[in-house]
Symmetry: C2
Subunit: 460 residues, 2 copies
């Protein structure tokens, strides 16, 4: 792990040298590193307590799937290896049917690429620990943004514990404060700020499969396990401690029907019988009724900036449903892209860079938000259908035949750095080729048939 201290603590441009990041989660702390390594004075404000000194926060996903885009952004700050060390490779989906039979659908037969299950807390800790070593990165916890004066570059924070407030003047505010961003709330009344929040009618609830008595994983651990059930589904990602984080995604109305332990066990017995044994009935009942199912929201907005004063990144700019495993990866890629723009700009003028970032990034963010929404249907339903598996086999074959030309959608999204919007265009191009081939084949068949009929008519 190569870590370089910045040569200077101030930026060459001088004026934009102080950057205040709101939100010290995954994207905020990675961004702090990217900017810190470029010599900016970075102030990172997190409204919670330091995650390194606290218990796990309930109601947020515990582990995440790290793929190519996230890895690239980590590599750029010298942290890819240390993160992967603690990640668990998942080489494909393992599908569980109603009878508990399992089937493997590999992500990438050709190049054997995989995604990694990483713990949110652990990853955040690695990032904060790394950030802390830079003298020009200042970590500030228990700082809740309560007011913002964009014109005057002013922010007011309150410490939720001590109720102390403090004002901060800065050159640039970057909101990395998640789907319900406080920074964004100050942008929404601006003329010309497009914004949408869309809730889906499905909620999620996290359960746990503990390690076996012998201290091992209870299922083959190099897979993302899925129990696709059409209208709902359950998935499981492996944890470092050999447990599994299991997530049930289901319409809220179906959650509402499970009122007590009897309902729950009947439901699980019918749809996830093999999982019940692994979770254990007692733990299942306890965890299921501990908290209410959480909602899932998609956020799209644009532009991400207000002049050279405010910028949104990560979930604050583009929150998506979790079904492509790209939420964190897209947020990390934001850091890569901004970083790259800054590198290319000789003057390192951050105000120009944020305009460029803002004008080019939204299209790809919209694309991955839409893909994530679509992937829920694929994961919970299509994955069980013959037409899907046939297409998947065809894609795999063509990928094997032409590994640089025919890259399937999942692979461009998860194992390449192709802009998300181009991934969609690429898929549409593939669809066009295939439907043309079918048409040509069909026409040939019809022509042949017509020939036969003509001959038949001729001779009779």
């Amino acid at each position: 792990m190569a870590q370089q201290y910045p040569e200077t603590n101030t930026n060459a441009a001088g004026e934009s040298s102080k950057v205040s990041i709101v939100g010290g989660g995954l994207v905020g702390s990675l961004l702090a590193l990217h900017l810190g390594q470029k010599g900016y004075q970075v102030h990172l404000h997190e409204y919670r307590d330091d995650i390194r000194t606290t218990e796990l926060i309930g109601g947020r996903s515990i582990n995440l799937a790290l793929s190519a885009r996230g890895r690239k952004a980590l590599a750029e700050v010298g942290l890819e290896e240390v993160v992967l060390e603690h990640g668990i490779p998942m080489r494909g989906r393992m599908l569980h049917d109603l009878n508990g039979n399992r089937r493997i659908v590999p992500y990438d037969k050709t190049k054997n690429q995989c995604i990694y299950s990483v713990g949110r807390k652990h990853l955040n800790e690695i990032l904060l620990n790394a950030a802390e070593r830079y003298p020009n990165i200042h970590l500030k916890f228990n700082q809740k943004l309560v007011d913002m004066n964009i014109e005057d570059n002013q922010m007011t924070f309150i410490n939720p514990q001590t109720k102390e407030t403090n004002d901060e003047t800065t050159d640039l505010i970057i909101g990395c404060d998640g789907a319900f961003s406080a920074v964004r709330r100050h942008m929404i009344t601006r003329t010309g700020f497009d914004f949408s929040q869309t809730y889906i009618e499905h909620g999620y609830l996290e359960l746990c499969i503990p390690p076996t008595e012998t201290g091992d994983f209870a299922m083959p651990h190099n897979y993302l396990h899925i129990w696709p059930r059409g209208k709902f589904m359950m998935i499981a990602l492996p944890n470092q401690d050999k447990s599994w984080t299991v997530t049930l995604f289901m319409p809220f109305e179906n959650f509402d029907m499970l009122k007590n332990a009897k309902d729950l066990l009947e439901f699980f017995g019918k749809y996830f019988s093999d999982a019940v044994n692994l979770i254990g009935t007692e733990r299942l009942i306890k965890d299921f009724f501990k908290i209410k199912p959480q909602s899932l929201v998609m956020i799209k907005c644009r532009p991400y900036h207000i002049s050279d004063k405010v910028l949104l990144m990560g979930d604050a700019a583009h929150a998506m449903v979790p079904f492509y495993g790209q939420g964190m990866n897209a947020g990390f890629e934001d850091c890569s892209i901004l970083s790259d723009i800054l590198e290319r700009a000789r003057s390192r003028d951050i105000s120009e860079a944020i305009r460029e970032f803002s004008s080019k990034r939204w299209r790809d963010a919209f694309a991955i938000c839409d893909l994530a929404m679509y992937n829920y249907v694929e994961m919970r339903d299509l994955v069980n259908r013959r037409s899907f598996l046939w297409r998947k086999s065809l894609d795999d074959f063509l990928f094997w035949l032409m590994p640089n030309t025919w890259v399937p959608l999942y692979n461009t999204v998860s194992f390449s750095h192709m802009p998300y919007s181009k991934c969609i265009v690429n898929r549409e191009w593939q669809n066009k080729i295939l439907s043309r081939s079918v048409m040509i084949a069909g026409s040939a068949a019809m022509a042949a048939a017509a020939g036969i009929i003509t001959k038949f008519m001729w001779y009779n």
Copy 2:
């Protein structure tokens, strides 16, 4: 004009009798009448001064197109006739080409139905005057909503002039406070509240064509005049005082190019030469540079309610771009629909009624928002194309042939009470019929051709 005083000042249900409407614009004041006539205690809070005692407010459209839906809602409170008395019928579009030649495209050749140009201020005054006569409708001006506690049915208002604040407790809050609704701002952080605001890249600017020297209209006044120019357009609606309100819709970047009087006159000379003479160059220059072009936003959200405590109506629920002339009409129809639901509910339990309204109305609101967006392309561009005029003639002919079966889209939207979403379905059905007819005709032609070829081959 029939006006009935309510028999009682309190509602039979008792509990929900006090309704606080936020926003005393067109929809708010019409709603006050609808609810007042049903015996509810209505408190209408308007943040501006009483419009009847003030000058015209700049930056808002001066006149509006009233059509069937709006007329129905006005008729229900006995105000249709008095409003139409002051309205100017517009029987079709009058298109102005680059050379000033004019062509009429009637709205409804078959039934001769028309839309009416009405003044916003005048209409608002009629509604407020009517509302004021009910002892159970309480008008309160200079009341700006600054806080809302939804759980406790509490609102806080401030008088922007005196800075006095006052709290109000109510049974139901109805936000009729427009596209930038303060009520809605309190709903947006709620889980499950879908919301989008979308700005278009075009702005608008209002100009004026004064009456002629002889005190007459400067153009044939029973038409909505359009100067369609592809990427931009200008329209004009007649006013009671024989002037015209002229609105230029154009991409902001094109507005930005007109920096001074010379640019402006060159531009108008090229694209709207016949209008320059009618506006007058001096007035044109003065009005054009008086205020900046205004933005146009589309707002969609759902659900419109929070339990039985808050409801959104009108632009607060569904703001649209103005190109279908349906913004006010849709808002007025909201009043009709809620009223109708209340009528049908014997108990007149307003909490059930708002749930029903909320669950059925959003689909139609989304539909008209989309139609309005589409109609901009039609008005500024398609209207000039042969394919459009051909389809319009065909629609007119079929409408004339089957006036109850084949009602063109514009006519279902403007001259019927068909739910907006059904108007779209109806149009899609018509498109299907037409494309099938074309296919059948095409197939017949091909079959005939094939027959000729076969014969040709046979005999040669």
